[in-house]
């Protein structure tokens, strides 16, 4: 097992190196540089000022030279300086990561828990009333655009009912645990609802298939209670494909919650990566995307380890 983990960590490092090169090159291929939009809206910026700024930000150097320079510093722990935030990348990344971690972990736990309950309930009587209602809800969750759901939540719970704050992380005069929690309710609920539909469908499909297997029939024939059959014998087997999907989703959640973060003014990783790409903030975009890649790799590693626990034959 140790060898397996070390091997996967080595692979992850290689993937990160290749990805850093690919991302840097792709960002470099985008037209213009960070100063172009500034110049376009500011006729006062003379060519001399622009040339001076390009030199200061290193934009007058070839792309590969800049990449090499970045890589050398990165392996020494220096991810560079964010031009758009005027701060070291790590100082921009850390708070965004914290915001995203709170959002993602909460919504992931909620959506996984909900989807297990709903998916199993639906699988127990495929085609029944409960299954129909859960399917309808799942399809609604998959189909509803996140930005619309977020806006509706704001309009209902903040504008009409005044139950929850419309946006932000915390009130300026409060900032306590409860206050943070209140600010998290709507974004977490939005993300959780958006993910639950898909997860529920996977759990349901996998459970229906597993419940038809011979070993389940055997378990029932041996007189095991139905709850034990479902939760111990069936669920464990059914979780193998579901874990793969969840692991992949977990990685994308870290960089893909752009709409939710934007709607609820949560300055997280998705928004940071999007803005840094649009503004050609190479160092920040690269670090953000690499971090998202790392999370995806780690969640897949966790999924591989989980397979071994769910089905010991797979770790052999």
């Amino acid at each position: 097992m140790r060898r397996f983990i070390l091997q996967r960590i080595g692979q992850a490092a290689l993937v990160l190196l290749v990805m850093s090169f690919v991302i840097y090159s792709l960002i470099g291929l985008m037209p213009g540089d960070p100063l172009d939009v500034m110049i376009a809206s500011n006729p006062g910026a003379t060519p001399e000022v622009v040339a001076r700024l390009r030199a200061i930000y290193g934009l007058d150097q070839p792309l590969m030279y800049r990449y090499g320079h970045w890589l050398l510093a990165a392996v020494q722990g220096d991810l560079g300086f964010s031009r758009t935030h005027s701060q070291p990348v790590l100082e921009v990344l850390a708070p965004a990561l914290w915001v995203t971690c709170k959002l993602m972990l909460a919504s992931f736990v909620i959506s996984v828990s909900l989807s297990l309950i709903l998916g199993i309930s639906a699988a127990l009587r495929p085609g029944g009333i409960v299954d129909g209602i859960i399917n309808l809800g799942a399809f609604a969750g998959i189909s509803v655009p996140v930005f619309w759901l977020a806006l509706m939540m704001i309009l209902v719970f903040a504008v009409k009912l005044h139950l929850l704050p419309a946006s932000g992380i915390a009130n300026i005069d409060d900032g306590g645990f409860v206050d943070h929690l209140r600010h998290l309710i709507m974004p977490v609920a939005t993300l959780a609802l958006a993910n639950t539909g898909g997860f529920t469908r996977f759990v349901r499909a996998s459970m229906i298939e597993t419940l038809r297997m011979d070993h389940i029939r055997t378990a029932r024939a041996k007189g095991n209670a139905e709850g034990r059959v479902v939760l111990v014998h069936a669920l464990r087997n059914a979780m193998i494909p579901v874990v793969t999907v969840m692991a992949l989703s977990f990685g994308t959640l870290f960089s893909g919650a752009l709409l939710t973060e934007t709607m609820f003014a949560q300055p997280g990783m998705g928004k940071m990566i999007y803005d840094s790409i649009l503004s050609n903030d190479f160092n920040l975009a690269l670090s953000g995307l690499l971090f998202a890649t790392l999370v995806t790799l780690l969640s897949n590693l966790a999924a591989d380890l989980a397979y071994g626990w769910l089905d010991p034959r797979m770790s052999r």
């Binding site: 376009a40 200061i56 005027s86 701060q87 932000g168 300055p267």
Partner: protein
């Protein structure tokens, strides 16, 4: 019973959840977060807006577009002797401008603002390695003679119209350490405005930054050492909500009090819609600004080289109705790049009102006749068709584009829409002048700003000048060049006005650009906010925020 209990719980939760907003705070919602708080780095609108609560430039244009002193006691002018011409060692004419700083000015840690700060800012701003990119460069001064702690004479290397327009000072006692770096860009990384923007002593205005949550909000509190009018509000909270639909909802929910028009917030169509939805909930102001929306024409296109075609394009579009229908008439139609509110504006220019018959007659005169498909062709069979580009994704621009496209089609001119993301449009298409027909966009300028960068012949971007300059239309008129140079040297407003009138006349006569309108800044303000004065130019309303109050 259960329902009642749930309702009671909801009511209690609602009571706890909606704390009444004390008028001690003013919460402002904006759609961008400032990338830096250093007054001289990255001249973004949002940065300047936030900083204008906390730092003051030496001079600024007020709501009536008149230059006034904010840090100085008297505005130096030629008339009052505060500014004088002087002969430079090389025989050329320079200027000596004397500034006296207000004696009671203090940084937010209580340290007096003195000429030491002025000299420090000038030295740093004149160093190419510092990365300054402010609009009123410090390197205009080649020498500063310090008279005392509050008075200094700035010696300029030539005559400038904006000789008495100077930006914010930096606190030498804090920023000196950051300025010690030897390498280019060291100051950008070390400045306390970026590393620790809540440091006491960085600000000399009525407010100071006390909380800075990157990407989320900036909190400003009263500067205890501010000697001017005491601000009414104890705190200004500037919240970033990038999605404007969410920003709108935050206004309605009361989570934010106002959406400013002079910072990125709601677009004009959103404010017009909000006004219809909630006419009595807020006060709405539409302030015409210096942002000029227009269409550049590619003069190298053979079809556009005929001035009659260019004139016909302008006669064929009904800009008055466009502005009325799309913007409820809030955005004034432009005749040239000079705003009617500007002192140098002249109304004696060609205006090209909507006249489709005249457009068709001009096209016929230029040899174009409508074909079977309704599009005009000349004797050589060239179709009167142009590519028409603008920034993709901006709804109002795209709507404007569709209206103009249909009006041109009625005049037998085909336009093929070819929109691009902003960074492609400005990073390649306009910068390298690769557009083939028309490109629609806007630019902002300062009050009385010379049009050198956009209209002077040597400012046409090319490989030779590393694609510097913003003369995207390739204007190259010796008379206009001479007028631009003359206007930059003429300090007497009465004598400058005819020069500016001549420039506007040339611009309008040549129709190298199709002027559309000046954007209006849409403000959504709480009804209780008094003393608020929008300016419509780059010296934003927060520069006078100490006068804002709740009533």
């Amino acid at each position: 019973m259960q329902f009642r209990a749930a309702l009671a719980a909801l009511t209690i939760w609602a009571g706890l959840a909606a704390p009444a907003l004390a008028k001690d705070d003013l919460v402002i919602g904006v759609a961008q977060f400032p990338p830096s708080l250093n007054p001289n780095i990255d001249p973004t609108v949002i940065k300047s807006y936030v900083l204008d609560f906390a730092t003051r430039p030496i001079t600024a244009y007020d709501k009536d577009w008149k230059l006034s002193c904010l840090l100085c006691t008297t505005l130096p002018t030629i008339e009052n002797g505060g500014a004088k011409f002087e002969e430079l060692p090389d025989g050329k004419k320079g200027m000596a401008v004397t500034f006296t700083l207000k004696p009671d000015l203090k940084w937010s840690d209580g340290t007096p603002v003195t000429t030491k700060d002025l000299v420090f800012t000038w030295k740093l701003g004149s160093d190419p390695k510092s990365g300054f990119s402010n609009n009123d460069p410090w390197d205009r001064a080649k020498k500063i003679d310090v008279i005392d702690d509050h008075t200094a004479v700035l010696h300029l290397d030539r005559v400038y119209v904006a000789y008495n327009v100077w930006d914010q000072l930096l606190p030498a006692h804090i920023e000196a350490a950051a300025a010690e770096g030897k390498e280019a860009g060291d100051y950008l990384k070390a400045t306390a405005y970026n590393r620790a923007p809540t440091t006491l002593g960085l600000y000399d205005g009525p407010f100071m930054v006390t909380k800075y949550e990157s990407g989320a909000q900036v909190v400003l509190e009263q500067n205890p050492h501010w000697a001017g009018t005491k601000p009414y509000f104890k705190r200004i909270i500037i919240k970033t909500i990038e999605n404007t639909a969410a920003l709108n909802a935050n206004l309605l929910s009361g989570d934010i009090d106002m959406a400013p028009g002079d910072a990125p917030a709601l677009s004009i169509d959103q404010v017009i819609a909000l006004q219809k939805q909630a006419p009595d909930k807020f006060e709405y102001i539409y302030k015409p600004s210096l942002t000029y929306e227009h269409i550049d024409l590619k003069i190298e296109n053979p079809l556009l080289q005929d001035i009659r075609v260019r004139q016909a394009l302008l006669y064929a579009i009904d800009r008055e109705t466009l502005v009325k229908k799309l913007f409820e008439g809030k955005q004034p139609v432009a005749a040239t790049w000079v705003n009617p509110l500007d002192g140098n504006y002249t109304k004696d220019t060609a205006t090209y009102p909507y006249d489709p018959a005249k457009a068709k007659a001009l096209l016929a005169e230029a040899g174009f006749k409508p074909g079977a498909d309704g599009i005009c062709r000349n004797a050589a069979g060239d179709k009167l068709s142009f590519e028409y580009a603008t920034t993709a994704g901006l709804k109002l621009r795209e709507l404007t584009q569709q209206v103009l496209q249909s009006q041109w089609k009625a005049a037998c001119v085909e336009t093929v829409i070819k929109n691009e993301p902003a960074r492609t449009l400005f990073g390649e298409t306009t910068k390298k002048r690769t557009y083939t027909g028309m490109v629609m966009y806007a630019w902002s300028s300062a009050v009385n700003e010379s049009p050198r960068k956009t209209l002077f012949s040597n400012q046409t971007p090319s490989a030779a000048n590393n694609y510097g300059g913003a003369n995207y239309i390739g204007m190259a008129d010796p008379k206009l060049d001479a007028d631009i140079a003359a206007s930059e040297q003429e300090l007497d407003p009465a004598k400058a006005k005819p020069i500016w009138a001549e420039m506007q006349k040339i611009y309008a006569d040549q129709v190298r650009v199709l002027p559309l309108f000046f954007r209006a800044e849409p403000y959504v303000l709480p009804k209780w906010l008094k003393g608020f004065t929008p300016t419509g130019h780059g010296d934003y309303s927060p520069l006078w925020s100490e006068n804002w109050r709740a009533e």
